[in-house]
């Protein structure tokens, strides 16, 4: 259900940039979606069809680029792919790690005409 408000925000971003660039039509929306995001592709497509209707983005292709969950160790600085949500550094065993990708849901670019 929360994809509804998320898709509203997404369309607002798309329309703002499309209008600022004098678009007549949005052909494609390139999205980046992190592995750990709670956003699901299917409901986004579903709500986009409904909310995007009668806007210049109606019928635009949605392209999702998935980003894996990657963390960086604050102790040794190594970057590692996180599996099973275990954020322990595989090199030095430190627990003090930070997520550097995998949380995002972003509009990367749009294709307009």
């Amino acid at each position: 259900m929360h994809e509804l408000s998320v898709v509203e925000s997404m369309i607002a971003i798309v329309l703002k940039h499309a209008q600022a660039n004098g678009a007549r039509k949005v052909k494609k929306i390139n999205l980046v979606l992190g592995e750990m995001s709670t956003i699901m592709e299917e409901p986004v497509r579903f709500y986009f069809e409904i909310i995007g209707k009668d806007t210049i983005a109606e019928g635009a292709e949605l392209a999702f680029e998935r980003k894996p969950l990657i963390a960086m160790c604050s102790s040794c600085g190594c970057e590692f792919g996180v599996s099973n949500y275990d954020f322990t550094c595989p090199k030095c065993g430190a627990l003090d790690t930070e997520i550097i990708s995998g949380r995002e849901f972003r509009v990367d670019s749009i294709e307009i005409e």
């Binding site: 259900m1 929360h2 509804l4 408000s5 998320v6 925000s9 997404m10 607002a12 971003i13 798309v14 940039h17 499309a18 660039n21 678009a23 750990m36 995001s37 709670t38 956003i39 099973n84 949500y85 275990d86 954020f87 322990t88 627990l95 003090d96 997520i99 995002e104 849901f105 972003r106 509009v107 990367d108 670019s109 749009i110 294709e111 307009i112 005409e113």
Partner: protein, 215 residues
């Protein structure tokens, strides 16, 4: 023609969350975002916490529910100011709704504002509301396997309160295993074991919270 956008879909919410933070900081109000699945004991924990902090901190509550005002009435019956937000079907609170509720409160006379989010272990974790602290509840009745099913909530929370520990003898809930899993996901998380039914552990949690607020 391709146009570079590079804008996060949650950015608009983040901006209002930061504005909420600024408003609260200017009035010295500490805000807790309390999250859990339905029935884990959010309202019961709020009532127990208010009781424990009565006379020590000036508290108010924002109640987020899809519909109805059952929870805010329970809080008001306890003599504490409660604002009800009905999300009308939406499964989480957003910064904007909290911003409107802040406008209805006399922030000068509040030290601690507890926001009881909509009962849901998924979506509330994505939406910051301008809180100082994200606290989540997992109850023994829900099972110890939840962290790997709802990883974002467990990794985003500053505090995990394990509620209904009085039920432990009747279940195969393994508190040691739960803590081990959660600590790997979120080593900074503070964990408290409570029973809102018996009052066990409430003192420890409320004293810790009071220190945070006064801190």
């Amino acid at each position: 023609m391709e146009i570079e956008v590079l804008e996060g879909v949650f950015d608009a919410n983040e901006i209002i969350a930061r504005e909420n933070r600024r408003i609260l900081d200017s009035k010295n109000v500490f805000m807790v975002n309390l999250m859990s699945g339905p029935g884990a004991g959010k309202t019961s924990l709020v009532l127990r916490t208010l009781e424990a902090l009565s006379g020590k901190l000036r508290c108010a509550v924002i109640e987020g529910d899809v519909t109805g005002k059952v929870d805010s009435e329970r809080i008001a019956d306890a003599g504490v100011i409660a604002i009800q937000i009905n999300t009308g079907g939406s499964c989480h609170l957003e910064a904007k709704q909290v911003n409107t509720a802040l406008g209805r409160l006399d922030l000068e006379s509040i030290d601690l504002l507890i926001v009881e989010n909509v009962g849901n272990l998924v979506c509330p974790a994505e939406f910051r509301i301008g809180e100082d602290l994200k606290a989540m509840i997992l109850s023994v009745a829900e099972g110890d396997d939840k962290p790997l099913k709802y990883p974002l909530m467990f990794s985003e929370s500053d505090v995990l309160i394990i509620n209904k520990v009085d039920l432990l003898p009747f279940t195969d809930f393994d508190i040691g295993r739960l803590k081990e899993t959660v600590k790997k996901m979120n080593p900074r998380i503070e964990i408290f074991e409570v029973s809102c039914k018996t009052g066990d552990g409430i003192g420890e949690w409320s004293s810790w919270l009071k220190k945070k607020v006064s801190g």
